[in-house]
Amino acid sequence: MIALGWTTANKALPDDVTYHGDGEIRILMMKQSTDVDARSKLQAQVRCFEAGIDFVPIAPSQEISPVAAEQLLAESDLRDTVIGLQEKAQLTLVIDMPDRPKVESPSGRAWLLERQLHLSKKEQIVRQISEFAQDLTLEFTPLRQSKNRMQCNMLVARRRAHEVIRAIALGLRHLPHLEEVKLAITGPWPPYDFTTSKQFA
């Protein structure tokens, strides 16, 4: 059996998911017991979430049994997290920067300056988005970045998620420094990037 997360919900679940346990906090688990890959678990979690279930998700790549999930709940402060993340959702922004321009036969100094420019542009974009998002979101994590791509995760009140998406889309459209970047706003998701967070207010 494979656990998907912890919840206080009591609502009807998608067909392939069921509750385990009978305490205040119960485990969501997949009915299918074997051969469940990470992607299928993610899909099942999203189905639960979109069916209105609030829960703290287990990373889909992890194999955690319902029994182990109960044990984790008993041995950690997960309960606070489950309570704290009730009615919360995550929005995830993907920001693609244009490619770094290739500096032709540069001096070392020119090369370093070019790298600095690219880095400061990234910082500026993240700063602008975080400033803009501050009033709309409960929490903000810039991160997971590779060379030209950044990801920002925001924790928002679930019932306001679509309102926030609209506001972000409208607000970001005219921010300076964003002319050359491509944005994708995704969600609402289960709060994958806030499962260790203590700041829910």
């Binding site: 001096s107 090369w111 950044m150």
Partner: protein
């Protein structure tokens, strides 16, 4: 003065985790042992080089470096990057195969 970057075993472990994917295993296969080892070693070298680059940029921003130092640092880091990618190419590894998060500093951007 800028604090030096401290790297502990946990950071290294995280860097390796990023290189290994989600199953928690860095597989070294008999058929692709050269490439697997190259990915492991070059990935770590690339990780350290990126940290040095970030730190060099911070030092430069804080005005701690002379023009000559900037020239020398830039040249060295640039050549190191080229060299890493050249060696990687010999093992049929693309730059993305070595791509890591920028590490502890990079994660805060």
């Amino acid at each position: 003065m800028i604090q030096p970057i401290e790297i502990n075993t946990k950071d290294i472990s995280e860097a390796l985790t990023d290189l290994s994917g989600s199953n928690g295993r860095l597989e070294i296969d008999p058929d692709t042992v050269e490439q697997d080892l190259a990915r492991l070693v070059l990935g770590l070298v690339a990780f350290l080089r990126q940290l040095m680059e970030l730190q060099a940029i911070r030092q430069m921003e804080n005005g701690n470096l002379t023009d000559q130092q900037e020239e020398k640092l830039g040249t060295t880091l640039m050549r190191a990057e080229t060299a890493i990618y050249e060696v990687a190419a010999q093992f049929n590894l693309a730059p993305e195969d070595l791509s890591l998060d920028l590490g502890p500093l990079g994660k805060t951007i």
